[in-house]
């Protein structure tokens, strides 16, 4: 069964700090690795994504680091803000099956 393992389950960071969320996968057929952000009462929304031929992607304060040999990837949120408080899901896409497998999520709280 395809799996994506995500840690930590919850995270508290002070305003201005760095938030780091880690994920690991098993299936080498995964070929696209997005991160989704979900606010309470809303559906998840795409935040940032990376393909396995790239080791890092940065968009504003959000950076994905990707280690293909270790089958791991992580999300870094620089200068974390209270508005970043949300649940973050890593995911892995298998274009052969057109399906997206999610990690279990990380609840991030950025304290003022």
């Amino acid at each position: 069964q395809q799996q994506v393992k995500q840690s930590p389950q919850s995270l508290i960071v002070q305003k201005g700090g760095i938030s780091i969320i880690n994920c690991a996968y098993e299936n080498t057929a995964f070929d696209y690795f997005p991160w989704y952000q979900q606010f309470p009462g809303k559906g998840p929304a795409l935040l940032i994504a990376i393909r396995p031929d790239v080791s890092e992607k940065k968009e504003g304060r959000f950076t994905i680091s990707f280690n293909k040999s270790a089958k791991q990837f992580s999300l870094h949120i620089m200068d974390s803000q209270p508005g970043d408080s949300a649940t973050y899901f890593c995911a892995a896409y298998d274009s052969g099956y057109s399906t997206l497998t999610f990690g279990k999520g990380t609840m991030l709280l950025v304290s003022p």
Binding site: Q1, Q6, Q9, Y32, F33, P34, G41, K42, G43, P44, A45, L46, A49, F89, A91, A92, Y93, S95, S98, T99, L100, T101, F102, G103, K104, G105
Partner: protein, 112 residues
Amino acid sequence: NAGVTQTPKFRILKIGQSMTLQCAQDMNHNYMYWYRQDPGMGLKLIYYSVGAGITDKGEVPNGYNVSRSTTEDFPLRLELAAPSQTSVYFCASSRGYTGELFFGEGSRLTVL
């Protein structure tokens, strides 16, 4: 521009009842998905469709059925509701061959 619209937003069912969760998208996406979200468990794929008339099972299809008669609509049918189907259900769509999914705001179902 509505995106992905789910109805109803909330519903309480008695054990053994049946119901249909509606999902419609106006982005002309070929790919549509149903996920369920349980606390601490991430999102699990129930069924998906890569086009009208084509559906396939995801990770947790038991107790559910789907149909896809048009590009726009992808209803999820719950037969003989059970307490284990208490969850938040999300419908999503995508252009295909990408892990960028657009989610609705969810339907919260309680089975008592």
